[in-house]
């Protein structure tokens, strides 16, 4: 057992005290979105109550407060991911927009006819489709590196898939279906040896394990605020300064310019060059509150607690007759996909919902991975640090009943 005071932490998440269909909520859909602590909810409310104005525009007092709060949020997020400088943090809507930004701007600059972009078979659609669009536009080729049957992405397989034409490698830090923790540091080293840049989809990692972009050595790192206990609609793109400085704008308009005339326009330096229009100031401020909340907790304790829950859940699920875990890579964290013999994942999810247990069923935006696994979909329980062994036991006990019901 870990040293995390889970009971005290749960008190800070008001929704965790909710009842669903007359039963206490057991929230095991954290890979879809995490719940928000009161500190985040209060921070967003306080922003609108006391600080709301547009940023980087006016000289009045509220505008200064809003701008301070927004830039303070950027510095807080930069510290959390250990970026070398706050200006390496671009606020976006989420991981999807971050990857689209890199594909469009950085990809447009560096990927040409005959070049290659490399992704893995376990990627989320948001780390596949933007690269397909780029490749179609550039006349480049999207290549796919596979995984083992257990769901392990091996660095050696990435090494084999890299060629002299590989310009970009875009890989999930943690799989949202299998929970596999991918060997990002090794992949970065191998890709850089071949002159390729690496984008890391960190949507499933941030908030679950420590993320140090400098230690990883990656060129870009993308994350979603709502999957790390912050608000929806705000996300983070980390990009190394040298890249961001060389990249053209993604969207254009107000806020991203140096000077504008009908003869020509110069662009603002990063990160503002990539933040056209009024940004989601409240979202950024709320995300900073989520980061401040996370920074109160030792990330090693979060990792240890989630590892304990994951091991406990995997062992308990192993006792359910007809259940098969999908994703058994040696290194993985709190995502447990499974199939139950004779029962469709959606029927599992509906049955569990009626006793208050929230899980997800379907392809989890990973249709190519489902094809690789030869499955139409899976049921998926995904944990966060506020989950308990008792919740896992409630969930697993219910599963045995589900199978009997449909048998």
């Amino acid at each position: 057992m870990s040293r995390l005071d889970v009971a005290a932490l749960r008190e800070e998440f008001p929704i965790l005290a909710a009842e669903v269909h007359g039963a206490p909520l057991v929230y095991l859909d954290n890979a879809a979105t995490t719940q928000k602590p009161q500190a985040v909810i209060d921070r967003v409310a306080r922003y609108y109550t006391e600080e709301n104005a547009n940023v980087h525009r006016a000289v009045h007092a509220l505008a200064e407060r809003a701008t301070d709060a927004y830039e303070h949020a950027r510095a807080t997020v930069a510290r959390f991911f250990n970026a070398a400088h706050p200006h390496e943090i671009v606020f976006v809507r989420g991981t999807t927009e971050a990857i689209n930004l890199v594909a469009d701007s950085f990809g447009g600059l560096h990927v040409h006819a005959g070049d290659e972009v490399l992704v893995s078979v376990m990627e989320h659609h948001s780390n596949i489709v933007p690269w397909q669009v780029l490749c179609a536009r550039a006349g480049a080729n999207l290549r796919v590196v596979s995984m083992t049957d257990e769901g392990e992405l091996r660095a050696s397989d990435v090494a084999d898939a890299l060629t002299a034409r590989t310009r970009i490698v875009s890989i999930a830090h943690v799989s949202n279906v299998l929970g596999s923790v991918n060997p990002v540091r090794d992949i970065v080293r191998l890709a850089h040896e071949r002159g390729a840049a690496v984008i890391v989809d960190g949507a499933q990692a941030a908030g679950h394990l420590p993320v140090d972009v400098q230690a990883l050595g990656c060129d870009f790192y993308a994350a979603s605020g709502h999957k790390m206990f912050g608000p929806t609609g705000i996300g983070v793109l980390y990009g190394r300064a040298e890249h961001l400085e060389s990249m053209p704008p993604y969207q254009s308009g107000g806020g991203m310019v140096g000077s504008v005339s009908f003869e020509g326009t110069s662009y603002a330096p990063p990160p503002y060059r990539f933040e056209a229009g009024t940004p989601d100031v409240a979202g950024a401020v709320g995300l900073a509150a989520a980061v401040a909340f996370l920074e109160r907790i030792d990330p090693a304790e979060i990792e240890a607690h989630e590892a304990d829950l994951c091991a406990h859940a995997a062992a308990a699920l192993g006792t359910v007759r007809g259940l098969r875990l999908v994703g058994t890579a040696p290194r993985r964290i709190g995502v447990l996909s499974f199939v139950l013999e004779g029962v469709h994942p959606h029927d599992v999810a509906t049955m569990l919902d009626r006793i208050g247990v929230a899980i997800r069923a379907g392809h989890h935006c990973c249709q190519p991975l489902m094809d690789r696994l030869a499955l139409p979909g899976t049921a998926r329980a995904s944990i966060a640090f506020y989950n308990t062994r008792e919740e896992i036991d409630t969930f697993v006990a219910a599963l045995a009943g589900v199978r009997e019901f449909f048998a």
Partner: protein
């Protein structure tokens, strides 16, 4: 198991899920495929029509208990009916599954077993999937329909 769950997964539904009727290919029939891309479900419906009357109906594919039972019950219900009657039946079935939680169930024979779906809005498209494929055959001669 709660009363609502028992109302959704009635014995008739569980039976048609475990032992789907008309789960076969009709080589000479018109076909359409219904897909629910969010859950990976794919059902192909086969419809044999002679003189504007359904002489045989069947299905193949993969779906949840609700979709499978709905397809099974549908193929039983439409056999022998005219196309006009099939259209009317589809409309009444649709009305039943999207009705208010406490609305009285229409007289739809065995199809009324799917009435519990109206209390599970997220599952309505499971029940509707085979019917949408069927209507694609009736109205357009076949093709591919998707819930999304």
């Amino acid at each position: 198991v709660s009363r609502e769950l028992e109302d959704l997964y009635r014995d008739v539904i569980l039976d048609h899920h475990k032992r789907p009727r008309n789960f076969r290919v009709i080589g000479s029939a018109q076909t359409a495929e219904g897909r629910n891309p969010l859950c990976g479900d794919r059902l192909t419906v086969y419809l044999q029509v002679e003189d504007a009357r359904v002489t045989d109906a069947s299905f193949q594919g993969y779906g949840c208990a609700i979709a499978t039972a709905s397809a099974s019950l549908m193929t039983e219900a439409v056999r022998g009916k005219t196309i006009a009657e099939v259209d009317a039946l589809a409309a009444r079935f649709h009305g039943m599954v999207v009705a208010a939680h406490d609305a009285p169930l229409p007289a739809l024979g065995e199809l009324a077993a799917l009435g519990g779906v109206r209390r599970f809005p997220a599952r309505v498209k499971c029940a509707s999937l085979p019917w949408r494929a069927l209507l694609a055959i009736v109205s357009a001669g076949g093709g591919l329909v998707s819930t999304e």
